[in-house]
């Protein structure tokens, strides 16, 4: 059932078995997974069914450090489906090596990749990703000429699967609305979470109109993104005079992202034709799910060198400015053509789709769209490619979230201040990884690497991937983390977190698939706990 929280009459009681804060990918997955259990569930969503400026304004905050192409107001979304509403859809699980490692004196993942595999597999259905297959050997196109580098023990091809992308709000709205046991409270923002002495969890909420409510439940799950889940926890502790989850002083610490940017150009010794890695084409698919290919150091090579994880997306570069302009026009036309086709067959194209604009893009770029493949067939090929990194950022206490004592949002919660500064060590790791690729390219007679010139930019030209992770890290010990391996907040009764906030390290993987997998793991745990 969908409930408009702005109303004051004719509403259901606010006593539930479970309250879930946040109706994004984690919250909706959890509610959907528990729908057949008979548990009474409240799913709280700050916004409505569609985008709304006033709800979105609750996201406003400050970034200290690297704010290039980054703002807190629009890097996540507040309406049904949450940030999945502008999700790009690249998916891959964390690598096995990510579960072996601990950085900077912190603990690592309190579980193995093998133990998470069944949940990854189930998460594939939620994210519309087809079969749970990522091994390049299983998915590689037959023609070896489509690869850049041969298999070596040091470098391998990573596979990313492309979600449509799944808009969780659109996909599950009708099922949620039809459920009698799940109440989706729209326009209802959580402002305080408390564990009462009798082991009842309390969530206080407020609407933009000032309507306040108190929800009680046997368990509460904070299923918002890292920033909002952490912000609510920090503010709740402050209001309650408690330090739930903060025995080790780690609540709000160790914020991580995947720093992203240009690492190097790979100049070919001879011009090359199309390869599977070209990030601007999605020709390859597995069971209808588009695949993307990237280069990465193998787990074995990472162990040898001590380098953190990361992958390099490959963008072919035309050689001169005029050719680059022509290629950009051709790419724009192709993107628009795909959007128009998707729109025509009724697929999701996002809220900002303008059919007139996209159609005219196709018409204006038609000549280049035709010319580009002909030129490639004539042997034009490419002389160089850009290697764009998406790197593992290692946890650092200096990166984190705190509350702004001088600014509150419309429901009275202090605004967030995010400190995010990718370090010189992070940059050096990217550089060393690119050098490793350069060695392999030279050994294969493919070409030479020219590293990017970052000049005196303190953040080496890196930008955010909008992957907000790590401020409520999971660890077995309360001194080493905020939650345990199930996501239960250390020191709180039945308060859980289903969010990228719980990641103790981030590997190279785009996080949504792992967030959904961890949520499914938590769902299994809650089925047992709440049934008992």
């Amino acid at each position: 059932m969908l409930v408009d929280g702005r109303r004051t009459e004719g509403l259901p009681e606010q006593e539930y078995d479970l309250v879930i804060v946040g109706a994004g990918p984690a919250g909706i997955t959890l509610a959907h997974e528990l729908r057949g259990t008979g548990l009474r569930i409240a799913l709280l969503e700050s916004g409505g069914e569609e985008y709304d400026d006033s709800a979105q304004a609750l996201n406003e905050g400050t970034i200290e450090g690297n704010d290039d192409e980054y703002d807190l107001a629009f890097s996540r979304l507040r309406y049904l489906g949450g940030t999945s509403n502008h999700w790009g859809g690249h998916c891959t699980p964390l690598d096995a090596i990510d579960f072996e490692r601990a950085w900077n004196g912190m603990t690592g993942w309190p579980m193995s990749r093998a133990s998470l595999d069944p949940y990854y597999e189930r998460a594939h259905a939620y994210c519309d990703l087809g079969a749970y297959r990522y091994a390049f050997a299983d998915l590689a196109p037959g023609d070896p000429d489509l690869r850049l580098l041969p298999d070596t023990p040091g470098i391998e091809t990573a596979v990313l699967r492309q979600s449509p992308p799944t808009r969780f709000g659109e996909k599950y709205r009708d099922a949620l609305a039809a459920s009698e046991t799940i109440h989706v409270w729209l326009w209802t923002t959580a402002v305080r979470v408390t564990t009462a002495p009798e082991a009842v969890e309390i969530v206080d909420t407020r609407t933009l109109e000032g309507v306040t409510r108190r929800f009680t439940a046997r368990a509460v799950v904070l299923a918002a993104g890292a920033i909002e889940a952490t912000r609510l926890m920090l503010w709740s502790n402050q209001q309650n005079g408690t330090a739930a989850g903060d025995a080790g002083g780690l609540l709000g610490k160790c914020y991580m992202d995947h720093p992203s940017g240009g690492a190097a150009f790979l100049h070919f010794d001879r011009r090359v034709g199309d390869k599977i890695y070209w990030a601007d084409i999605d020709t390859y698919a597995d069971g209808g799910v588009p695949l993307h290919f990237a280069l990465r150091l193998s787990d074995a090579r990472q162990r040898e060198t001590g380098l953190p994880n990361g992958h390099f997306l490959v963008f072919p570069f035309a050689d001169d400015e005029a050719a680059q302009t022509r290629k950009r026009r051709a790419d724009l036309g192709m993107r628009s053509l795909k959007s128009v086709v998707k729109w025509a067959i009724g697929r999701d194209v996002g809220a900002r789709f303008d059919p007139g604009r996209e159609y005219c893009n196709v018409i204006d770029s038609a000549d280049e769209m035709i010319a580009a493949p002909i030129e490639r067939l004539r042997g034009g090929g490419y002389g160089r490619v850009l290697l764009k990194y998406e790197a593992e950022q290692r946890p650092d206490r200096d990166n984190g979230l705190r509350l702004d004592a001088g600014a509150r949002d419309a429901v009275g919660v202090p605004a967030p201040i995010l400190q995010w500064a990718p370090s010189a060590d992070d940059m050096e790791a990217v550089r060393q990884s690119a050098i490793e690729i350069g060695r392999m390219a030279g050994a294969a007679g493919l070409g030479r690497i020219e590293l990017e010139d970052y000049g005196d930019d303190p953040y080496w030209g890196t930008t955010t991937a909008w992957h907000q992770l790590g401020t409520m890290r999971m660890a077995d010990s309360p001194q080493a983390g905020v939650t345990d391996a199930d996501g239960r907040v250390h020191g709180a009764g039945a308060l859980y977190v289903a969010s990228g906030a719980t990641f103790p390290s981030v590997g190279r993987a785009n996080p949504t698939l792992t967030i959904v997998a961890l949520t499914l793991r938590l769902a299994d745990h809650l089925k047992g706990r709440l049934a008992a």
């Binding site: 060695r439 392999m440 030279g442 050994a443 030479r448 690497i449 590293l451 010139d453």
Partner: protein, 131 residues
């Protein structure tokens, strides 16, 4: 034309030819007295065909090693001398390419002005500039 004597014309032509021969011969003689390592370096410059910015790399590497150090290092590589002695250009280039790929595979690489190249490529680029 009547004013121009045939012998003047022939004498002038022979004079120009003689000056050319003397100039070139003198230059060759002078250069033979100037100590250089062209016999070693020139056959190896085939390597630079795959180096995309030899001038940038060479200038950067000259800040790392002196000409004498570069020369000594090149002379110390027996496999390099073997390749340099191959007279047939295509075979020599193929052999040098193998050496370079092997160096890459062994990790004998440097970063010179942001280019990831083998140490050998960096040295030859520097030697090319110094030659």
């Amino acid at each position: 034309m009547s004013g121009v004597k045939r012998r003047w014309l022939l004498g002038g032509a022979l004079g120009c030819l003689g000056a050319g021969v003397l100039g070139y011969g003198g230059s060759v003689a002078a250069c033979s007295l100037h100590e250089r390592r062209t016999a070693l370096i020139w056959p190896l410059l085939d390597v630079l065909g795959d180096v995309h910015a030899p001038e940038r790399i060479g200038r950067a590497w000259r800040d790392v090693e002196t000409d004498a150090e570069i020369e000594a290092a090149l002379l110390a590589r027996g496999d390099l001398a073997g390749a340099a002695l191959i007279a047939e250009p295509l075979r020599r280039r193929t052999r040098l390419g193998e050496l370079i790929r092997t160096d890459f595979a062994k990790g004998d690489t440097v970063v010179a002005d942001r280019w990831v190249v083998t140490r050998l490529e960096a040295r030859l680029s520097a030697a090319w500039i110094s030659t």
